[in-house]
């Protein structure tokens, strides 16, 4: 039986309480909401916090409500099931509904939260292994070791951003609200991520993601496509999030963000800029897919070989854009 290491469990009753508990216990403490990412890691001894601050009882963190600015606010403690099923998310932020609904399994989505998925630990098949396994390879720099086993000459960790919702939220131009000892702040979600497998979030450890704020939905079309071996359980080995804001048939804004090809959600700005001011024709889509393919630099640390994942970036970006354009996903042979 894989078991959790011992810890003290402190149930926060409010965001302020959680912030205080985190401050009180400093680096000994970790936050837990759904636990679906943290507990497996704790069982493999990637984390052994002395204190867990549980967010489950913080009612303020749960729910979906309209934002004053005209968008939507989703509490970070809202389960992925609830996000995927929310009528407004489904109609206005299709990409997010697809991404939340594509995380792992129904059971896991019933437990896992949007905030948890946004903060999902980066993954690597040298890292997501048991303690004994990692010990056998002398550990890696992400935990207990010295070097990156994927790229031994590299000074950095190449663990992969494996969140499904993060690329979509980046492509939607969402913001996250953070609560910490210094008060609240709101940042664009793309500013939450850092291109480092270990230090992959810019937030302070004691800061809590409380809300995800989505922009107004008018003219917004979004989609998320996920490459994985199976239709369930599997993390993305490539995620393509594409969002366009249309004015009639003309693209006014566009954002393409790739998941699982780097330590953070990787934007493909060149591809997106090709679309702006244009109509989404099959030819334009093919050109954009070519451009989006370039920034994808997957390494050999997930399921499927990285050359294949790189190759599929073009296919998946094209399919995502074709879907946004209302074209059949796969061109007729």
């Amino acid at each position: 039986m894989m078991r959790l290491p011992p810890f003290r469990y402190l149930a926060a009753v409010s965001v302020a309480d959680a912030v205080k508990l985190m401050a009180d216990h400093g680096p000994d403490a970790m936050l837990v909401a759904g636990g679906t990412d943290l507990y497996p890691n704790m069982k493999r001894r990637q984390f052994e916090p002395a204190v867990l601050v549980g967010l489950r009882g913080v009612r303020d963190l749960v729910g979906v409500r309209p934002a004053a600015s005209g968008g939507l606010v989703i509490g970070a403690g809202t389960t992925l099931t609830a996000v995927a099923r929310d009528p407004q998310v489904r109609s206005d932020y299709v990409g997010l509904a697809l991404a939340a609904g594509a995380v792992s399994t129904p059971q896991l989505r019933n437990m896992g939260t949007l905030g948890g998925n946004v903060c999902l630990d980066t993954r690597c098949n040298y890292y997501n292994q048991s303690y004994q396994w990692r010990k056998a390879v002398n550990f890696c720099m992400k935990k207990d070791g010295e070097i990156c086993l994927v790229a031994p000459g590299s000074p950095r960790c190449w663990a992969v951003s494996s969140s499904d919702t993060a690329p979509v939220l980046c492509s939607l131009g969402a913001h996250v609200r953070l609560a910490g000892p210094g008060g609240e702040r709101t940042i664009p979600i793309s500013a939450l991520y850092r291109d480092d497998g270990i230090d992959y979030l810019t937030k302070q450890p004691g800061e809590i993601v409380t809300e995800i704020v989505l922009p107004p939905a008018d003219g917004l079309r979004s989609v998320y496509l996920k490459l994985r071996r199976r239709g369930s359980f599997d993390f993305p080995v490539l995620g393509v999030a594409a969002t366009v804001r249309l004015d009639g048939e003309t693209v006014r804004e566009a954002r393409i963000v790739l998941g699982a090809v780097a330590s953070l959600p990787r934007e493909a700005p060149e591809a997106a800029s090709l679309l702006v001011g244009q109509r989404l024709t099959p030819e334009l889509i093919a050109r954009a897919a070519d451009a989006a393919y370039r920034p994808a630099k997957p390494l050999d640390n997930t399921d499927f070989g990285h050359p294949y994942r790189k190759k599929m970036t073009r296919v998946y970006v094209a399919r995502a854009l074709r879907r946004l354009a209302g074209l059949p996903e796969v061109p007729e042979a």
Binding site: P5, Y9, G35, Y39, T105, Q107, L108, M111, F233
Partner: protein
């Protein structure tokens, strides 16, 4: 460190003193001897340990019992009412949907939650609802058949689920 837990499991109040870091799976099996809940990986990668918390299928290997207090927990032992099987259990018996039977408890409970929410699921909807429960014996075919059969019987009122029947009776003056 131990925590005193007050859990409501299968309609019974159970008080138990258990290590704080024990998962719901471990407390159910080891402290309460409810061994009907099985485990296949303890990492949330198979669905075998699924139980219902507040009617929702969750992975007991990744749930802390301390967070499940005050909510009804249902394990496979709580599905039948006395000797009266839940229509899903009855259909699994009749259609051979349990081979080795190891994944069966988790699948039954996941299916129960599905039928509670969606009394007339399509086969595809059943597939999606059970996509988080691995089975290595059946090829899922008889499982899908059995869920369909149970749904049909529950709709036709041939075999209402024991729990909802009781509620219906209780609601009458």
């Amino acid at each position: 460190m131990k925590t005193r837990l007050s859990l409501r499991i299968n309609g019974e109040e159970r008080d138990v003193l258990a290590d704080t870091h024990k998962t719901l799976l471990e407390v159910l099996r080891e402290d309460l001897h409810l061994t009907g809940t099985k485990h296949g990986c303890e990492l949330g990668e198979c669905g075998t340990c699924t139980v219902l918390v507040g009617g929702t299928p969750v992975l007991s290997c990744l749930a802390l019992p301390i967070e499940c207090q005050g909510v009804e927990i249902k394990t496979v032992e709580g599905m039948a009412r006395g000797h009266e099987l839940h229509p899903l259990q009855q259909a699994f018996v009749e259609l051979g949907a349990a081979q080795c039977g190891y994944c069966t408890p988790g699948i039954l409970l996941t299916a129960e939650a599905l039928l509670e929410e969606l009394p007339m699921p399509t086969r595809d909807e059943i597939r999606h609802a059970l996509a988080g429960n691995l089975c290595r014996c059946t090829g899922y075919t008889k499982i899908l058949d059995a869920v369909e059969l149970a749904a049909l019987r529950m709709r036709q009122g041939e075999m209402p689920p024991p729990a909802s029947r009781a509620e219906a009776e209780g609601a009458r003056p």
